[in-house]
């Protein structure tokens, strides 16, 4: 009897194991569970040759954290083959509809409001609360576009602010050739930044000097995109407000904005000390700066990686964003890209576990070690990020970059922001080509923003 029972139990056990294996096999076929029984969470990332190593390192580190913690979840990257955020957005939102591709991912801050509005994103409030409660994260980075009606639909993947890069070598060459009219490096002090007038003057001198050397020697003094995303930053640096006043009214049609665009007009249209849209059609401004064709470039910290890698023997410095007057503090437009999770995922809990692993110290450190993803939002990872820069040609500028963190000017993204931005960009060439005055252009920006606010676009 005992033998029979033993045999019977063994048989049952064998059957159970067989069935279990069979179930495992079936599950394997849907590609959502790996051979070790882990739920595979696919993460969408945009294709960027320079940034991919950073994101892949982050995923690898997050997987080690998951393994260490005994979580039956693993992250697999899915690189969407585009380097345009707009195309990436179209692709991932379509994939979400079809429940194919990544159930988590990363996306530019500007696109988050549309994804929230389309109700495609999972509520991540519980993770946000848990992370913020640790005190280990920059709590302010969680706010903004991803918050809607008290719920959070995204987690910050890092913050990236604007700085002014300058090519010290070009400055030094100029000063050597013009000992009686030397120009200073731009200020790196966020509380005592160079003024618009100083930068304008420097840009003109540089342009005039190098243009006079001949066509093949020509350089531009400055490149700074006059885009809506940065307009609020320049307006604040002119004593104005960031697109909207405290009551939510659009204030683009105020003096600080007119002044800023007059400044741009002087350089773009009159002095031609900044490359026009036709100049940048052949080679964009960042590439021109890397090649030594532009002396000063206002751009984001995301360019540091390329600047370290592709500027050859040039010595590069980093300065604060210019201001209208020394009495104003220098602010810097700051972007906070987000991690998201799909609302219709078939494994929402696994997605959240994966996201928490991506927010771990190990994962963020892995990312920041590659100088990718911007300033870490986990405070104990920031030093590591800056330590990694200290080993580069930008070592002397670490404090300047770090200093900018305190002077954020966030872009007031909304569901209509991108439409407004598109409309304004479509008109921009008319202004730069001189067919529209700076005032007319600023008025158009204002009217378009108001139309957007009123749902008329």
């Amino acid at each position: 009897m005992k033998k029979f029972l033993t045999k019977f139990i063994s048989l049952c056990l064998a059957l159970t194991i067989s069935v279990g294996l069979a179930c495992g096999l079936t599950a394997c076929k849907d590609n959502e569970v790996d051979d070790d029984g882990n739920v595979v969470v696919t993460m969408s990332i945009m294709n960027s040759t320079n940034e991919n190593p950073g994101w892949l390192a982050m995923i690898e580190a997050a997987n080690l954290v998951l393994e260490r913690n005994g979580e039956k979840v693993r992250i697999e990257p899915e690189i969407i083959k585009t380097d345009s955020w707009d195309q990436y957005y179209t692709k991932v939102t379509s994939n979400i509809l079809g429940n194919i591709g990544g159930t988590i991912g990363r996306i530019a801050e500007s696109h988050i409001p549309m994804m929230v509005d389309k109700r495609q994103l999972a509520d991540l409030t519980d993770i946000r609360d848990e992370l913020v409660a640790t005190g280990e994260y920059d709590a302010t980075a969680f706010e903004g576009v991803a918050e809607n009606d008290g719920k959070y639909y995204g987690l910050p993947s890092g913050t990236q602010h604007m700085v002014m890069y300058y090519n010290k070598t070009i400055f030094d060459q100029y000063n050597k050739a013009n000992p009686s009219d030397k120009i200073a490096y731009p200020s790196s002090d966020w509380n005592n930044a160079s003024t618009f007038a100083e930068i304008q003057d420097t840009a003109k001198k540089m342009t005039d000097y190098y243009t006079a050397l001949g066509k093949d020697q020509k350089k531009f003094g400055l490149s700074a995109g006059p885009f809506l995303a940065y307009a609020g930053m320049y307006a604040k640096n002119s004593g104005g407000e960031n697109i909207f006043d405290s009551n939510g009214n659009c204030v683009i049609n105020t003096k600080p904005f007119y002044d800023v665009y007059d400044w741009f007009t002087q350089m773009l249209v009159i002095d031609k000390s900044a490359p026009s849209t036709s100049d940048t059609q052949t080679l964009d401004a960042a590439a021109r700066f890397l090649g030594g064709n532009i002396a000063m470039l206002i751009d984001g910290v995301w360019q540091m990686h390329d600047i370290c890698k592709y500027t050859g023997d040039f010595e590069i410095g980093i300065a604060a964003i210019p201001v209208a007057d020394k009495k104003y503090t220098s602010y810097t437009t700051t972007f906070t890209d987000r991690f998201w999770a799909s609302r219709n995922s078939r494994h929402p809990e696994a997605d959240k576990i994966a996201l928490k692993a991506l927010m771990s110290k190990e994962a963020i450190t892995a990312l920041s070690s590659k100088q990718v993803g911007g300033i870490p939002i986990r405070t104990d990872c920031i030093d590591n990020y800056f330590e990694s820069i200290k080993g580069t040609k930008l070592a002397d500028s670490v404090e300047t970059v770090k200093g900018g963190i305190a002077y954020k000017a966030n872009v007031p993204y909304s569901t209509y922001y991108n439409v407004v931005d598109q409309r304004i960009n479509q008109k921009m060439a008319l202004w730069i080509n001189g067919e529209m005055s700076a005032k007319e252009f600023v008025d158009f920006m204002h009217e378009t923003m108001v139309d957007g606010m009123e749902g008329k676009l």
């Binding site: 079936t26 076929k29 849907d30 707009d86 957005y89 179209t90 692709k91 939102t93 379509s94 994939n95 509809l97 079809g98 429940n99 194919i100 591709g101 549309m114 509005d117 389309k118 109700r119 495609q120 219709n344 569901t415 209509y416 991108n418 439409v419 598109q422 749902g455 008329k456 676009l457």
Partner: protein
Amino acid sequence: MKYSKKITALFAAIMLLSVFALTACNNSTEDQTGGGGTVFNPTVTMKEISKEEYLNKTLAGLLGQFSGFLSGYEFVWYGQDPYIGMPESWFDFLNGPYAGNYEHYTPVDTWRYDRLRVNPDTGKNEVYSDDDFHIDIFNQLIIDEFGISGYAVKEAWKKYKVSDWGGGQGAIDLISAHDMLPPFTGTIESGNRWGWCTEAYIENETLGMNAPGMPNVATELVDTFASNVGYFDSLVWAKFYAAMYSLAYFEDDILVVMEKAKEALPEGSYPRQMYDYAVKAYNDYPNDYRSAGLEIVNKRRGLYRIDNVQTDPNINGAFALLSWLYGKNSYLDSCKYASILGFDGDCTAAIVTGVMGIIKGFKQGNEEYDAINSTIYYDGEGVYFNDDGSTYSEEDRKKGLFQARICSEEYPTRQKIDDIIDLYRKNFEKILVKNGGKAEGDKYLIPTASLIKDHSFLFKNYDAEERTQEGFTAKNGKLEVITEGENINTHSGFAGFKMTNLKDGEVYHKFTGLKKGKYYRLSTYVKTTGGTQVSIFARSKESTAEMTFANVTSLINKAFVFEAMDDNMEVGFSFHPSSAKSEVLYFDDFMLEEVDYKELSQVSDSALRAYQDKYTRTVKKPDGLSDGEEVVIRVEYRNSTGSTLNANVIRNGVRFGGVLLSNTSKNATTGKAYLDIPYVFDKDSDTIMIDFTGSKAAIGCIKVLRKTQYMFR
């Protein structure tokens, strides 16, 4: 006022629940199986409608089409996304973008807008043609001058030189190039690049006004006319809307009309799911049309070759339903929501408002009457203009290509709206008599009936969207589910099946609940590796029926009709015995329905035999056929040329029309399929030649079948 709104909302909710409860009750008690299979001739109830009422409702239906079109917003984008739920303030009845009002939205192609223009000679507006209704109106000429058949449609399109968008453009291209007959003109295999698009339903749904109270006649008309320009879900929606147009003559509640027409949406199909999603979204957001719209858009699926998401027939279908739900039986509110919900809003508004017109009639005192009368109808003086300015581009104008115009000079440039209505009446009277009704004095006696019950057999995962192999049994091969962001190897949704052969591989679904002796039709979408031959089989314990296809290197539709030899049948695919182990079959949307099959005569029971260039046969017209009545001549054939053959059917020495002989076989000794020729006899006995000059094909048995309609085209 607020109290009144609440009462109205409560009433609407109760009505909605009552209608659904009532219908559910009906489903459980009404015998639709007839002791085996579907009842294709539902019980007839004779109902009366006065001629005056018919004319008034039909006028209101057409004016509703015009009004919706002139009010609705089409393809409005908001950044990178379609604009869902535009502000209510954008709605301006009879004064939307197509009336030249760009206050809220300026189309990028304004040159083809402004379809409400003043005729300087009369000082009155005229409604310019648009694809929302130019074919609807042309269909009335077709029925009057040519009759009701695929041949009639083809001949009319050819004679009058139709210009059209999308699937209609594809159809006229094929008619011009190959004299091709519908339904071949609407298919992927023929080369109609846009058959998936909206034309099937936006251009044919008013055929329901030729069959008031006779929804099955309406869907049959749609089956003939709409399959000229499209296939798949667009046809399903066309039948649903046409049924609504038909049913609306005897109903006063849009919710009842919707629910009764729902039988045209096969249970489990994506259109039917959209119906249910729309009702749910409305119940979840009874006061928030935008949120309901967003919920619907989040249910969007891929569709083979779709190139503008805003033309998605299924999203637009759900938006039409939402418009009626939020409209709460108000003509203007229904028009409003259809106009501003988004996507193809001008077309949706035309459909929605047309049905509301039939329900309400065009009567003084109605909320919409004065605006319509003073803007387009003018107490009967209103005119419809066959627009000659709406080109796609200046280059197309030089070529004589227009987006919505009947180009022949024989076609009237201007028609009074009342004259169009009279044409609807004239055609209705013919159709009425043919279907057992009659005109008596100032009344019509109409043989009304409910829609034939849904007779589809869609099982869970018929479309692979469960992302599992559930529902299918695979043997001697590897069955996988593939997912795609863009449909290339899959037909609809985001997933399809891939079967890789090992040796004699087969994959099938076991259907239960069939009725022995009844006929069934499988419609599915397939693709193979180069040179691969696959059978579609229907197998019982006793016997197997099959047809084949071969070398299908891009996705096409295949249809297979078989007789159930048992109540349970295995239906699926099998690789040819000579197939290599690496050969692949992709398939998707594996849709079965019962069909109303009737063989009228057997012409030939010969075995397949090869013919060079042509095959000729004398075919006797079956007894009882009326003049111009369409039948189907089903020809067994084999084509092993490696590709689809364009063939001509020659009737008594004169070209009747072009058809397709699909590639069936990898060699001349195996495989076969069936060519269904939509045929109209000219004499009591016709000499019919199938001309495939330059090629060889084998021809076997031939039968003449009564024409029937299918749920899946």
